[in-house]
Symmetry: C2
Subunit: 214 residues, 2 copies
């Protein structure tokens, strides 16, 4: 499948690399067409990887991942352009983390709204699915790093889009996918970061994840 990955940081790199390893064609998008990190990733990814602007990557992909940081997400999606997002599944991995108050981070948006909802509101024709934002990026693409049962949460307004994201997550190795509801449930997924950051501090490792036991 052709997949666009918006964002050139650690999360974008890790997901784009996993997608190429799974046989997909991936275009990494950046603010500028000459972004060195995106170009470097594309070179290292071999024939199935390429780089371009946010708009290039969005136009290229049948499915899109938003891996930008939270503060840069809305402007990146504006740059990607509504026409390139229309009708497409947009997997929002980002978290609205605010490091300006020091560590651990707080959230730029919380409780009564979420970045996932803002993405869906500003791009109503995209099928936004919030997913993979509640764990370290190495765990995102290799759930086996964490022992025992643990889960990835998804939310979104389009059941068919969620079903396709579940398929993609299964190809990443995810056994437990927990559907938290419509995109407003992104509030819960993003709020989990507040606890995640504390546990990261307490346990001194990013290699852990949450499980809903019943």
């Amino acid at each position: 499948m052709k997949i666009g990955v918006l964002g050139t940081g650690l999360v974008g790199n890790t997901i784009a690399t996993k997608l190429v390893a799974l046989g997909h064609e991936v275009r990494m998008g950046a603010r500028s067409a000459t972004n060195e990190k995106a170009a470097g990733w594309a070179r290292s990814a071999g024939g199935r990887g390429s780089a371009g602007t946010f708009a290039d990557a969005a136009a290229f992909g049948e499915i899109l991942f938003n891996c930008c940081n939270g503060a840069g997400t809305l402007s990146a999606l504006d740059a990607a352009g509504d026409a390139n997002l229309r009708g497409k599944i947009l997997i929002d991995v980002s978290n609205p983390l605010d490091f300006s108050r020091g560590m651990p981070p707080t959230l730029l948006i919380a409780n009564t709204d979420s970045l996932g909802e803002q993405v869906q509101r500003t791009h109503p024709d995209a099928k936004v699915v919030k997913a993979l934002n509640t764990m370290n990026c190495n765990v995102m693409v290799n759930p086996g790093l964490v022992k025992g049962e643990h889960d990835v949460f998804i939310s979104g307004n389009d059941p068919e889009a969620k079903a396709r994201v579940v398929e993609l997550l299964r190809s990443f190795g995810w056994k437990n996918v927990v559907d938290a509801g419509d995109i407003s449930a992104a509030r819960g997924q993003e709020a989990l970061l507040i606890l995640w950051a504390r546990l990261f501090g307490a346990m001194q490792t990013p290699t852990f994840n949450f499980h809903v036991a019943r």
Copy 2:
């Protein structure tokens, strides 16, 4: 042990009843000395249960549970009185839930502060330990209701107080106690309610709990 339970709702009742079953003497505190719910609980609890005001219950207990609702917590603790809280372990079970926007609830305090921290700030001589606020009250006192590994989170500034709370939690049946850090980690514990409320809606049962897999 003599334990004071502040709050006459479902959470207060459930915890007070469990404590009596474990052999503790429990005084349930209410805003008024003639509160019918507290008196009714005390009658049903037999010889080890009694009822009184918030101040009566706080004076009685060597350890205290705050089981008031979030909106009523600070005024209940003011009524309990600083002199009755001084030096005591105060287990804060409450959540600052706001139902005024409809369901699922939002939080009255979130992200950059927490009710647990407000309780500690307003009563600096109490040893506040946030615990048990992240699951249904039946699960609080009977973790075996949920299958597999699952956890109770604690946070607080006093290591000795946390150690005593861990002991008490073990007597409730808790195997996994996760120390999330100082009392500011209550932000994470309370934020988990945002996701809890969504999962309650999605799964249509309150009988679940979170686990941190590593």
